[in-house]
Amino acid sequence: MTGSPSDEELLAAHLEGDPQAFTELITRHQQRLWAIAYRTLGNASDAEDALQEGLIKALRSAASFRGEAAVTSWLHRIVVNTAIDRIRSQRNGAQEVVDTLADGSEVERATPGNAQGNVELRIMLEQALHELPLDQRVAVILVDVEGYSPAEVAELLNIPAGTVKSRCARGRRRLAARLSDEQFNRDR
């Protein structure tokens, strides 16, 4: 075989007993999975817990993966849903997210090396993103930030594609309104 093995080949190798295959598969995708978990949950600590929990679930259920979707979609679905479950199980989850972001430290750490103006705008945007209702936040993160198509997100979340689109549209409008308010307040 030439070149790197595909995701499907790595998963198959894992199921056949290759001790390194699953780790290699995760290493390949951990950056994007981390970004989704981090943005959904709004802080590094919860994102780490969700990522670990989700990937352990994936490991334990690997044998039941039937190949109906791409391996990467399967991994993303598990991590996204684990993050969503985590937020729902936190009694004061929404408030915690807002509080965590209030000082901007987590967001600022996520955007190193940018010009000051861009950093401020992005911090503002990330804060506004985390204040969206959970369903809109997840849809906007997956479609607008991560670049999935609405159809792919529909499959990940097991909801109709139109619902994904409407959640994105509502989320964008809220973000636009929020950014306009911020801009207005800063210009006063």
Binding site: P19, E48, V145, A161
Partner: protein
């Protein structure tokens, strides 16, 4: 059937389009190195027992026979002993009072095993509400951390990094207990949430355990 959200599909105004562009330009948060390290180690812990099974498939059968022989010898020669190969159904954790940390655990575990017969069993009140309350709880925890050893672990209800924790010392069957796998877990360890705090592989324990010749 029309999708109820479709009417909003083309509803983006100029501001929303601008938001989309901004969102697309957000740089991805980089996974911190320490987070990636912990994730890697956690996956290794989960994978380790499977690796050992794969690597030592031939040795496993022989080791299991040796462990059974050792257990029988211990049961007859060391009645009441808290040796690692005891076969009681009750988990019977001990409470050493040790304060473990990442720096001391590899030293304290052999000491724990060497002094096991003089270390008191944990009181019922100490076990109440923990996974050590029943053998089913211990089994659930061991499955949760990804191991399902034939031998019962030695469990020490102690402190790790100044917090209450359980230290599970599991003899490595493939080496007939010459080394042990040591897991540090929270007191509510279970299959669903093993609360794994630390994992120390291959701690030399043969001399400390004193397996019967």
């Amino acid at each position: 059937m029309p999708d109820p959200g479709d009417h909003l599909a083309g509803a983006d105004d100029a501001e929303s389009m601008q938001v989309r562009q901004l969102l697309r330009s957000l740089p991805p948060p980089q996974i911190p190195t320490d987070v990636a390290d912990r994730l890697y180690r956690r996956l290794q812990v989960e994978l380790l027992p499977r690796q050992r099974v794969a690597r030592a498939r031939v040795l496993a059968t022989a080791a299991a026979v040796l462990l059974l022989l050792a257990a029988a010898t211990v049961a007859s020669g060391y009645r009441g002993s808290k040796s690692m190969v005891r076969a009681e159904a009750d988990p019977a954790p001990v409470a050493s009072g040790f304060s473990y940390s990442a720096d001391t655990i590899a030293i304290l575990v052999p000491q724990l095993l060497a002094e096991i017969d003089s270390i008191p069993l944990a009181d019922l009140w100490q076990r109440e509400g923990t996974f050590t309350h029943s053998s089913a709880g211990v089994d659930s925890c061991m499955t949760g951390i990804g191991t399902k050893s034939e031998a019962q672990p030695v469990i020490d209800l102690a402190n790790y990094d100044d917090n209450p924790a359980a230290i599970l010392v599991i003899p490595d069957q493939a080496t007939n207990g010459e080394v042990s796998q040591v897991y540090v877990v929270g007191l509510k360890c279970s299959y669903d949430d093993p609360e794994l705090k630390a994992f120390v592989p291959d701690v030399p324990t043969a001399l400390a355990v004193g397996f019967p010749e």
